[in-house]
């Protein structure tokens, strides 16, 4: 019997430390393991006893690439526990800050990390020799996202201006003037990026995923909404625990997020797009069609087009929010500590990020739970790897290894985020 193992000891161009091990027997993949060797940092444990107001700054440190996602999920959860709602311009500013993070994170992934897979380069810098305009455009786009985070958040990595209840200081209208011009230019670059990636060669691969994302009555989802899927899931964020669980999988020591009734699911841009196509503006919908995407796309390799479309959307949305901005009277709403439980779920660039906190009457955290997008996607990534390997039996080992890495990068995995789950790469024949 022909048995072989395809290994990647250190997956490059992803955030964090992971490895891949794929076992193939007689041309069929028998198992795929995405091994996370990122050392656990034990955030849920170290949060206990900290003040509710500390959660956004501490949990931001789970991920340097999507700190706003952690800040947003935590402030929403804490506000629910404290019984307050943040709306109006403060709500709009939160969405604006999140647009900045989507732009910087997506631009980095699309142009510098994922595009090289499609064009046969080892990195974005090498790719710049042949695709200089696209790389420089991608960097300028990324810079616009970072600049937006600097203006509103104080800095691009671990912004300082977010607090439970709102912000420490809200910008004056004039502070947005320079970034407005930059975002207009960024929008053009995003449109060019959509066209560029739409012409990439895509493996002919589809899978019938259960897509999970937020859904809001009138917005493309970022900060709020119900949690929905294409197989009938439709719950409030508070009901997360009744539908999802972190489970031990057979022959594995991993904790993987699964839907209790159905198993694996996919979160991230592809899920958002498929479940919220009708919430995208008409011109972005047209751009999707021109790029060869139907309103439902089941080819994970084409997630790069969806990310590029979300770049256009995030630039538009940021410009819309800035144009309508009127500084609110107060930068935050008043808060009184009280005992309670709160849930928050927002759309990180790479998918839904769920937080749950229990706080005591002094406002100290009693328990914390965080479910990161990559831990939710892990099972789906492994299933893709097996399927892709089965469909790629004609490829050489090296080509198959490259294809597998590309498959993992389809998810823009953020392994530091998933540091509270761990999978050991032990395989015994």
């Amino acid at each position: 019997m022909a048995t072989k193992t395809i290994r990647v000891d250190y997956i490059a161009r992803v955030e964090g430390e992971g490895a891949l091990e794929l076992h193939i027997k007689d041309g069929r993949a028998t198992s795929a393991k995405l091994a996370i060797f990122e050392p656990p940092r034990l955030f849920e444990a170290l949060l206990r006893g900290r003040g509710f107001a500390e959660a956004p700054d501490i949990t931001a440190r789970i991920c340097g690439i999507c700190p706003v996602a952690y800040q947003m999920s935590s402030v929403h959860a804490m506000e629910q526990a404290l019984g307050v709602t943040v709306d109006g311009q403060l709500r709009a500013l939160r969405r604006l800050l999140y647009c900045g993070e989507w732009i910087e994170s997506h631009a980095l992934h699309v142009v510098m990390l994922h595009a090289p897979d499609f064009l046969g380069f080892q990195d974005g810098i090498q790719m710049a020799a042949k695709h200089g305009d696209a790389v420089r455009g991608g960097l300028a786009l990324k810079k616009a996202g970072n600049e937006l985070m600097r203006v509103l958040g104080g800095r691009e990595i671990h912004p300082v201006n977010v607090r439970v209840g709102g912000f420490y200081r809200v910008p004056r209208r004039a502070e947005f003037a320079p970034i407005t011009e930059q975002l207009k230019r960024a929008r053009e670059l995003a449109v060019a990026t959509v066209r560029w990636v739409a012409a990439f060669p895509f493996p002919n691969y589809q899978r019938d995923y259960e897509f999970v994302s937020l859904r809001h009555p009138d917005e493309y989802p970022i900060n709020e909404g119900r949690i929905v899927s294409n197989r009938g899931l439709d719950i409030t964020v508070d009901e997360y625990d009744s539908e999802f669980e972190e489970r031990h999988v057979a022959h594995s020591t991993a904790l993987q997020s699964v839907l209790k009734r159905r198993g694996s699911y996919l979160v991230g841009p592809l899920a958002r797009y498929n479940l919220n196509f009708d919430r995208l503006p008409a011109d972005v919908q047209d751009m999707a069609r021109e790029s060869g995407l139907a309103p439902v796309c089941r080819n994970p390799f084409q997630s790069i087009i969806v990310r590029a479309l979300e770049l256009v959307y995030a630039c538009d949305e940021a410009l819309r929010i800035i144009a309508a901005y009127e500084p609110p009277d107060a930068p935050s709403v008043p808060l009184e500590p009280r005992a309670g439980i709160g849930h928050g779920c927002t759309e990180a660039p790479r998918g839904i990020l769920y937080h749950r906190y229990e706080i005591d009457d002094k406002g100290a955290i009693v328990t914390a739970r965080i479910s990161a997008p990559t831990s939710q996607n892990q099972l789906s990534i492994e299933e893709d790897l097996c399927e892709v390997a089965n469909q790629s039996s004609d490829l050489s080992d090296d080509a198959l290894r490259d294809r597998c890495e590309q498959t993992i990068r389809n998810y823009d995995p953020c392994i530091s985020c998933s540091c509270h789950f761990l999978k050991l790469a032990v395989h015994r024949e």
Partner: protein
């Protein structure tokens, strides 16, 4: 024309959030120029090229929390002419050093259903606890311009021009009105400069993410905090956060119990 030998740069990760190495990719205007001036020999977050050592400059992110990493950092040291730590994790142990003040087994049991599968050390320690470090760059996260300065300085064989004053001085330099005189407790007087005093410019007190400056008078500052209405618990928490294991902050946190 013979190609000049470019200095070789490597970027390493230990327990961390990736934010400090992301700072290098966040140098959008300079990245291609940096890549031209140096050979980016090992930087897995950005490239599939993973060239073997030796390296002229190794940037190390993250803290040591596993036995395997404690060995790995020695291998990196041996292959590196200069080794510079980037950020609070590599320089002081990071937020994950809160385990140093607790029972790590209890911590693991609180997070994982099967704690027996988790191999981790009882402490999170900075790189300097394990190997010789040529320079430590502070910050959670580090500042991009300081990173570019450190890279340029080491490759040019000079000392990095990184000031060792406080965030307090940075406020004066940028003309920010002191938040403490307006009643907001601030760690600016004891915190290492480098961020450009961002928090006070947002009407917020500094929370010390750049760690202690040399010989900080934390006790005096703590007394001022109490006068402004902060509780001992507030003081304990603020010193015990992103640079909890840095000695001056550790001592001041201890002085205020829990």
């Amino acid at each position: 024309m013979a190609e000049r030998r470019r200095p070789r740069l490597a970027v390493w990760k230990f327990a961390s959030c990736d934010g400090c190495q992301l700072s290098l990719l966040d140098c959008e205007d300079e990245l291609l120029a940096v890549a031209d001036a140096v050979e980016i020999a090992y930087f897995p977050e950005a490239s599939s090229v993973m060239a073997k050592g030796p390296y002229d400059l190794s940037l190390v992110e993250g803290s040591i929390t596993t036995a395997h990493d404690a060995e790995r950092v020695h291998k990196i040291r041996r292959q590196s002419k200069f080794l510079v730590t980037i950020g609070a994790c590599a320089t002081a142990g990071g937020i994950q050093a809160l385990r140093n003040f607790a029972d790590v087994n209890e911590f693991v049991a609180a997070v994982y259903a099967s704690p027996q599968y988790i191999k981790t050390l009882a402490t999170s320690t900075p790189i300097s606890s394990h190997v010789k470090v040529d320079f430590e760059l502070n910050g959670c996260p580090i500042d991009r311009s300081q990173l570019l300065e450190v890279i340029s300085a080491f490759l040019a064989g000079r000392k990095p021009a990184i000031g060792n004053h406080t965030v307090c001085i940075e406020c004066k330099l940028r003309g920010t009105v002191c938040v403490m005189v307006q009643g907001t407790p601030c760690l600016g007087p004891v915190t290492h400069a480098g961020c450009g005093a961002i928090c006070p410019s947002f009407n917020r007190g500094c929370y010390g993410c750049f760690g202690p400056k040399e010989r900080p008078n934390t006790a005096s500052l703590a007394a001022e905090w109490l006068k402004l209405g902060a509780t001992p618990r507030d003081l304990h928490r603020v010193f015990r956060t992103f640079n909890a294991a840095a000695e001056p902050f550790r001592q001041e946190a201890d002085a205020h119990g829990d």
